[in-house]
Symmetry: C2
Subunit: 450 residues, 2 copies
């Protein structure tokens, strides 16, 4: 039998998160207060995040202990499997060895539960009663709903409107776990109402949904806000992915030449790549490639500068690659990748040329997704399929060059709640992002002129 | 950290299937030819099944080797995890230890791919070009679509009409893997047309869909039929579940007092329970409990007799518990359990009092499903939740009796493509089967008078 699985056991779940900030050589650019343009202190952010989270956000400590209560939740599904994609390799006829870490075995169907569990826990012990958040495709909202149920917290989710209608089962799943879900922009907040007044057909964006969740948080006592990507503490919590992957690559007797992940806010890619970046800072030769959609080309076409994280500009300013807070990307089906900004840590590593960035078109993405399903069996989330799309490119390049190459990518989630997008692809109803350029998209996913 | 995972590695995937027929002490009642009422030989069934499958169907050999090509497919997701449901135990305040084998990690989302892979393989090597089949909730159709894609076969699925409309993403998933899917009764077959002529609103049944798939098979060259449950070879292929579970219970240092599974045709329960029945035949004290819906109470209210497997009475007669081939159960959302008959091997063991049977109502089932999701995180398939419902009863009984009891059940699949049923439950739109008694159900799932 072909050796294709590299499985760990419960005792191998990492007990500490890895913090790349300890290895950067200098502190990363701090968040700035939008009024004073001075670095934010924890006290500036205390109304929206629990103190333990803020300490992690600003920590320079290399290893941070995972609390026992969080470990007990992670053990519901971690460690996740690492597979070698032997059948995909064969279909491509490539000499490359393709490995993937599969995060879709979590109850939420993606990596998002890794940080949701930690964030819900810290909120619980600091007295939060309810958490407000945004979600794109619904992966994050699902994960936070589950984590809030585990820790007895209420949960309110502002879901980007075009995804809300594209992925109705996501709302159902969040409802099973007791969350309230509203399509964003919504009538629940003043900011949502102002957007609707200007544009009743607005498909929404992560930036708008974040503003709504923040407004909800700031208007209510005992409510805190939670973000599923972008921030340092989120990437910290996701490093369990990369730490496990390193052990599993050792079991496989290989070390990756390249580590690939899709990027929206940057959390799944950050989670897998940071422990390998630690090796790179220590002199090891390893490439990291962040894959984004051409429809939302933050790293490949954005500017590296201070910008707000949300459309209402309520957040601190973050130094990051950004397309601007007013950017509303076309309603491509990879709703989790429709964010105008990018994690400051990923942005910094791209700026320092430690990490490469590429953009891929969604038609190519779905083609790669179907190839992956037909060979490996798993239906990938459209977001994760962006990584697959680039992996196929790397594998073909290895074939052209006639040399072995070890590729590792993060299959961050399955696409079972994204089947509407696959229907659209199979029925030739998807347009490539280029065709959508400079146009807006209505909630049923079709391009529409501005 | 609490010990809750019992994980095997790739080398632990069973290399042989276990055949309970070797331990029954006498041959099981043979299938009878409906015209002659004489036992069927392989030649009678050769038009619909490949010869290797027929040999397994009639084999008395205890261990049957799993072909290398099938092992390579099983290794895409097997071995599956066995978990202890510590958080469910705590919520119930029970002294019972509850273990579950989780088959939802397969690409198809359920145990069905275990036999689909084997059946597609044997068809491939014997020259079949396309396989026709039926599906209830869509778990089986999804699995066979994936397996056919792996082995380069065409696949046609007749999906019970009420489930076709309740679970639209199942069709999408099958389409991704290249299968053709028709709501049954369909206009594709003479039998389907005859049913529609009599009753245009017929919600369909597994019996009708089997007849349609058989008619398609018999009318075309190079087409064979495949069944996802009921028959001996299917249960044989599913014994990988129980064989792995036995190793994993050993890792846990426990042996089950009771093994629980839901039953529609009997394949997931047969898969987990048969290797434990081998122990029972050898003198070990272990109970097996088959859990069926009150809406389709085959084992608890049916007769043990020879009956046809399909509504058109095209199949051989099988000695089994049956509600009669004309029985059309209400369109409860556990579409995989809407079968008028039961696996002859399960039926025989119930008749011999080796296995117990209970029926549970779907309102209680969904209540148990949500409790399970809230504690263990995984959203169960409505079918699998029937097992959970009875496990809760066993755990409460252990609490009343104040004694430890080791419970093992098969969580045969996840419910991510069944979220419409959860919506109906949460919105109080589900009716209990008792309220549906003697009534028919229309495709949107509501009861309707005959």
């Amino acid at each position: 039998m072909e050796q294709r699985q590299f499985l760990l056991s419960q005792k191998d779940i990492p007990t500490e998160w890895y913090n790349i900030c300890a290895d950067l050589g200098e502190p990363p650019p701090p968040p700035l207060h939008p009024a004073t343009m001075q670095p934010c202190g924890p006290e500036d952010l205390a109304p929206i995040f629990p103190m333990a989270i803020l300490e992690q956000e600003m920590s320079a400590q290399r290893w941070i202990k995972i609390p026992e209560e969080v470990m007990n939740i992670l053990a519901l599904w971690r460690p996740t499997p690492l597979y070698r994609a032997i059948r995909l390799e064969a279909a491509l006829g490539t000499p490359a060895k393709i490995y993937y870490k599969y995060e879709g075995t979590s109850p939420a169907g993606s990596h998002k539960l890794n940080t949701a569990a930690a964030q819900a826990y810290y909120n619980k012990i600091e007295g939060t009663k309810r958490i407000a958040t945004e979600t794109g495709a619904g992966q994050w909202g699902s994960a936070l709903s589950i984590a809030c149920k585990f820790f007895g917290l209420g949960c309110t989710v502002y879901m980007v409107k075009c995804s809300f209608y594209q992925k109705p089962y996501r709302k159902s799943l969040m409802n099973v776990f007791g969350a309230e879900v509203y399509p964003s922009p919504s009538e629940k907040t003043d900011f949502g109402k102002s957007i609707i007044a200007k544009d009743p057909d607005c498909p929404g964006s992560l930036g708008i949904a974040i503003s709504e969740a923040l407004e909800d948080t700031l208007k209510h006592d005992d409510v805190k806000y939670s973000l599923g990507s972008v921030l340092n503490h989120v990437i910290l919590h996701q490093t369990v992915i990369g730490l496990e992957s390193k052990k599993q690559m050792e079991m496989a007797g290989d070390y990756p030449d390249v580590v690939v992940g899709c990027v929206g806010g940057g959390s799944n890619f950050g989670g897998i790549v940071m422990p390998f970046m630690a090796d790179k800072y220590a002199g090891k030769n390893v490439r990291g490639v962040a894959v984004e959609p051409t429809a939302c080309p933050t790293l490949t076409k954005g500017d590296y500068k201070y910008d707000a994280g949300d459309t209402a500009r309520m957040t601190p300013l973050l130094k990051m690659y950004t397309l601007g807070t007013d950017f509303i990307p076309p309603a491509i089906h990879a709703g989790g990748l429709r964010y105008h900004g990018m994690a400051p840590l990923i942005s910094l590593l791209v700026e320092k040329k430690m990490i490469e960035a590429v953009a891929v078109d969604q038609i190519d993405v779905f083609q790669a997704a179907v190839l992956f399903a037909h060979t490996e069996g798993i239906l990938p989330a459209p977001e994760s399929a962006h990584a697959i799309c680039h992996v196929v490119t790397e594998a073909k390049r290895a074939k052209e060059e006639g040399r072995e190459r070890v590729i590792l990518f993060n299959l961050s989630g399955h696409g079972l709640l994204d089947l509407g997008a696959y229907d659209a692809y199979l029925e030739d109803r998807l347009e490539s992002a280029t065709e959508c350029d400079d146009r807006r998209v209505n909630p049923n996913g079709k391009c529409q002129a501005f």
